[in-house]
């Protein structure tokens, strides 16, 4: 029986591969992009996913940071975009986009802290490290909140929200948690004095660094005290780190858990067949291999199954995030 099931599975995989290859061949032979391979535009943070898709399916890929997409005059050359769901509100691109796919993969937003400093912060936060409390401590001297003088000031790192969907999600989570998880945020909220002051203190203590977590592992707590990132990046890197470095860092999931959700969005004039390629087993596997949680796929080392994922991303919607980005630009100017 087990052999029979294995055979069935293998046949299904072959069939799936034939379908995907067929979709690619269709695209090369006709449709709106005659004689041209399909091209998938990838958010820069998803480059490894797209590299694997290129290797397994042969589609062409191009990567661009978020602001690069907005200013790219060659969007017509692309058939679809693999990105974070909240990026699709990007006003410069939105008119060119079709309907987004269902969520393909998800990754919780995490805070990475050194164990020793995390314990001090935890105490300062009253038992649980929250964004609100991180923002209150940001830029202060560790000595003033119960830490060592030699630790200097509380330094944070996260990806640049103006170029990275990950960074945008992070400031979105921070803002949402400042106001409380049930608050339905609007643009006006960001003009409130208490939020503006808090957000200014937080983000002025942040170094925009797309490799902040890697740098935390490499340089130790000397470089960053707190790094905000996504589990897909932090979990596997932490698992692969040498024990002496791994043991110094822990990952926290601020409550309620928020997620960066990956979707495929076709360009209106793009080749429809690309959708089949991206949502294929190859596409799902590529996302899982990059550290995302994908239904039906085994997580890679360092990606846990807990905490469970919420039903929705728990992030403000795209338009509100655009407004928050404007506020971020203002406070970090």
């Amino acid at each position: 029986m087990r052999r029979f099931l294995a055979l069935l599975g293998a046949l299904a995989m072959v069939g799936g591969a034939i379908l995907v290859r067929g979709a690619i061949d269709d695209a090369s032979g006709g449709g709106s992009n005659d004689g041209k391979k399909m091209t998938l535009l990838c958010a820069a943070e998803l480059e490894t996913v797209c590299d694997e898709l290129h290797d397994t399916t042969g589609i062409r890929i191009a990567t661009a940071p978020m602001d690069g997409v907005a200013s790219n005059a060659e969007l017509a050359d692309y058939d679809g975009w693999l990105t974070f769901e909240r990026n699709t509100a990007n006003s410069a691109v939105a008119p060119l986009l079709g309907a987004a796919s269902p969520v393909l993969g998800r990754s919780p937003l995490v805070l990475a802290v050194g164990k020793e400093r995390g314990a001090v912060l935890e105490q300062q936060c009253g038992g649980e490290i929250t964004w609100r409390c991180v923002g209150d401590a940001a830029g202060s001297s560790w000595a003033s909140i119960g830490g060592e003088v030699a630790w200097g000031n509380v330094k944070l790192g996260h990806a640049d929200p103006s170029t990275s969907g990950e960074g945008l999600a992070i400031i979105g989570q921070a803002a949402q948690q400042f106001f409380g998880p049930t608050k339905n945020l609007s643009r006006d909220d960001f003009e409130q004095d208490n939020f503006f002051a808090w957000f200014t203190q937080l983000e002025r203590a942040v170094e925009s660094d797309d490799a902040a977590f890697e740098h935390l592992l490499t340089f130790g707590a000397a470089r960053y005290d707190v790094v905000a990132t996504i589990e897909a990046l932090a979990g596997p890197q932490l698992a692969a780190a040498a024990r002496d470095r791994r043991d110094r860092v822990r990952l926290l999931y601020p409550d309620p858990v928020a997620t960066a959700d990956v979707v495929f969005v076709p360009f209106i004039d793009g080749n429809d067949s690309l959708f089949d390629v991206v949502v294929s087993d190859d596409g799902r596997a590529a996302l899982a291999h990059a550290g995302f949680r994908v239904d039906g796929e085994d997580p890679i080392a360092g990606v846990p199954t807990a905490p469970p994922l919420p039903d929705s991303s728990n992030l403000p919607d795209g338009g509100v995030l655009e407004a928050l980005l404007q506020t971020w630009r203002e406070v970090t100017r």
Partner: protein
């Protein structure tokens, strides 16, 4: 330490400034894509070794073509200056690099800022992969660190620099026998540790750990603080190896506290020093001997900066797409786990976090792998450039006697193409070097050759009295240009008399030094006793409370007596420089003047 090594070190120091040491390319390099790398000196051996391994690996292929790696030595500051000028004259300065690997990413900021100031496009448009790390530390002989509270009390620039400004010196810490506090740091124009220390010093002066601004640099109290710290500096220089070699030599002579109390170096240098290999270079057959008094690393409590040794693929017009692809392949290769284990052997921390920070980064070597606890923010590129400019104003001023050999052999042809003599080239170099002095440095000119003067002493002639460069620059230039070769080389007499002259007129607020350029051996029957000269010099340079006058000799041309000049330099805790090829004299002169 073998006697010939210091010369090797000074050769290295000389080549740092534009000189080239090419790593051997694989035999098949001709048909391959060649990735030229301009590397700071401390990782030349390692990168060359990894380059050879890479060339034999499956990863060394781009579009089916093999890849060869060619590494050239360029100090970070010298490479920055070359890139700023679009890397002119590759035949002289070495091939234009595809990868630039300075000691620290900070140099990329300095480069692109200076290029932007000149209306040029940046060359470093993507951050380089960090190959290996080492933090800047304050290295101190262990008993001196203990006198400040090490290891129980966290120490920092604040403590060390306060001591530097205290007229009582070590007496204030219960050790009058150690004399004044003497600080060793390199010239930030050339050296990464010098740049990092200077940034840290400005942070300490402002009490900040981030957001250093141009306004901060201009504050009078900040300037005063920095000026006071600089006043404790022994001398500067282009490489920390000079300090470490001199410290080691003093230690071996049983005088571990006489030369310097603290030196700003990279952590890796402490490893090398405590292994008994202060310059990090082991000659064949050389057996390192551990110092009597080891150094310990103070990780400044205010924070420090890392040298992150990035491999930066240049966005320069001479870099083709294929070369950039090949460079990326090499960059990936060196950060692989098995290759990263190699960097530990060289005393660096691995850039790949999958590799543990293990031996030799251990307490037994005076180090602490859990340190540093915090870092200083790297200032923005305009502020970095401002730090260097500001340092030029506050650095310890110099009082230097230039002593130039005008013996007959200096008239020998040195450049068959132009017919220029050795003296012609030396004159050009000396005039060019005058530009490196500040207006309030004091410089004089003495020439020597047997019977050059009709009056006693007949072996030398003072052409320009020591005075402020602002006053006598034209006289110096005119006098240098008018030099002509005459007779023999009374090297010992002029060395001793010049030293004595500087000692007689010693100015404690300045770096007091003699620069002697000589192309030959002592040719003076009246004074032919080298041992006597060395005894005289050593007698005035040992012990903790000496008045430090340094002699920086330049061995010029193939007939120069390098061994003797080296011993003269060592006797005064300075460094000898070699310009065996007269064509290198301009770079060598620059290296010498970097000490001031």
């Amino acid at each position: 330490m073998m006697l010939r090594r210091p010369i090797a070190v000074t050769l290295a120091a000389a080549t740092i400034l534009g000189g080239i040491v090419l790593a051997e390319a694989p035999a098949s390099a001709g048909s391959c894509i060649t990735v030229d790398i301009a590397s700071s000196p401390e990782k030349l051996v390692l990168l060359t070794e990894l380059g050879e391994r890479f060339a034999k690996s499956d990863e060394a292929r781009v579009d089916g073509q093999c890849v060869a790696i060619q590494v050239q030595r360029q100090s970070s500051g010298a490479a920055e200056a070359l890139l700023e000028a679009d890397w002119p004259k590759p035949s002289k300065n070495g091939p234009r690099p595809v990868i630039w690997s300075p000691s620290a990413s900070t140099w990329a900021g300095v480069l692109d800022q200076r290029r932007a100031d000149a209306g040029k496009d940046p060359y470093v448009t993507t951050p380089g992969k960090s190959f290996m790390l080492t933090p800047l530390v304050i290295a101190m002989p262990e008993p001196m660190a203990e006198a400040l509270g090490y290891p129980d009390t966290p120490l920092g620039f604040e403590d060390v620099l306060a001591l530097a400004q205290d007229p009582a010196g070590w007496a204030g810490k219960g050790h009058p026998e150690w004399g004044p506090f003497k600080f060793g740091k390199t010239n930030p124009h050339f050296s990464t540790s010098g740049l990092a220390e200077t940034v840290a010093q400005y942070y300490a002066a402002t009490g900040k750990t981030s957001d250093l601004s141009l306004e901060d640099l201009a504050r009078p109290e900040v300037e005063a603080y920095s000026r006071a710290v600089e006043s404790a500096v022994v001398h500067y220089g282009d490489t920390t190896l000079t300090f470490l070699n001199n410290l080691y030599r003093s230690d071996r002579r049983g005088d571990p506290f006489g030369y310097a109390s603290a030196v700003a170096v990279e952590e890796k240098s402490v490893v090398d020093y405590n292994r008994g290999n202060p310059d990090g270079i082991l000659d064949p057959g050389e057996k390192p001997r551990k110092p009597r008094v080891p150094l310990v690393a103070i990780y400044p409590k205010e924070g420090t900066l890392f040298s992150d040794n990035p491999l930066m693929i240049l966005d320069a017009p001479w870099v083709s797409n294929k070369e950039a692809d090949a460079a990326r392949a090499f960059s990936n290769f060196v950060t692989e786990k098995q290759n990263q284990k190699r960097v530990l052997k060289f005393g660096f921390r691995p850039g790949n976090p999958a590799v543990s920070i293990g031996a030799p980064i251990t307490a037994a070597n005076g180090l602490d792998p859990s340190q540093p606890q915090t870092t200083l923010e790297v200032p923005s590129p305009p502020v970095l450039a401002g730090v260097i400019d500001e340092w030029d104003q506050v650095r310890k001023k110099a009082r230097v006697l230039l002593v130039i050999d005008v013996s007959g052999s200096m008239g020998d042809e040195a450049d068959s193409r132009t017919g220029a003599t050795k003296l012609d080239l030396a004159k050009r170099a000396a005039v060019a070097a005058l530009d490196q002095f500040q207006a309030d440095d004091e410089v004089g000119l003495r020439v020597f050759s047997t019977d050059i003067s009709s009056d006693e002493p007949t072996d030398y002639l003072d052409l320009v009295p020591i005075g402020a460069v602002s006053d006598n620059r034209n006289d110096l230039e005119r006098s240098i240009k008018s030099l002509v070769p005459t007779q023999g080389t009374p090297l010992y007499t002029v060395t001793q008399d010049s030293y004595q002259r500087m000692l007689d007129e010693f100015d404690a607020t300045r770096i007091n030094a003699v620069v002697i350029l000589s192309d030959g051996r002592n040719e003076d029957d009246r004074n032919n006793d080298l041992q006597d000269l060395l005894k005289y010099l050593r007698g005035r340079n040992e012990g903790e409370t000496t008045t430090p006058v340094r002699i920086f000799p330049i061995a010029y041309g193939g007939d120069a007596d390098e061994g003797t000049l080296q011993r003269i330099a060592e006797a005064t805790n300075a460094a000898a420089y070699s310009a065996v090829d007269p064509a290198t004299i301009i770079n060598v002169f620059n290296a010498v003047v970097s000490n001031f």
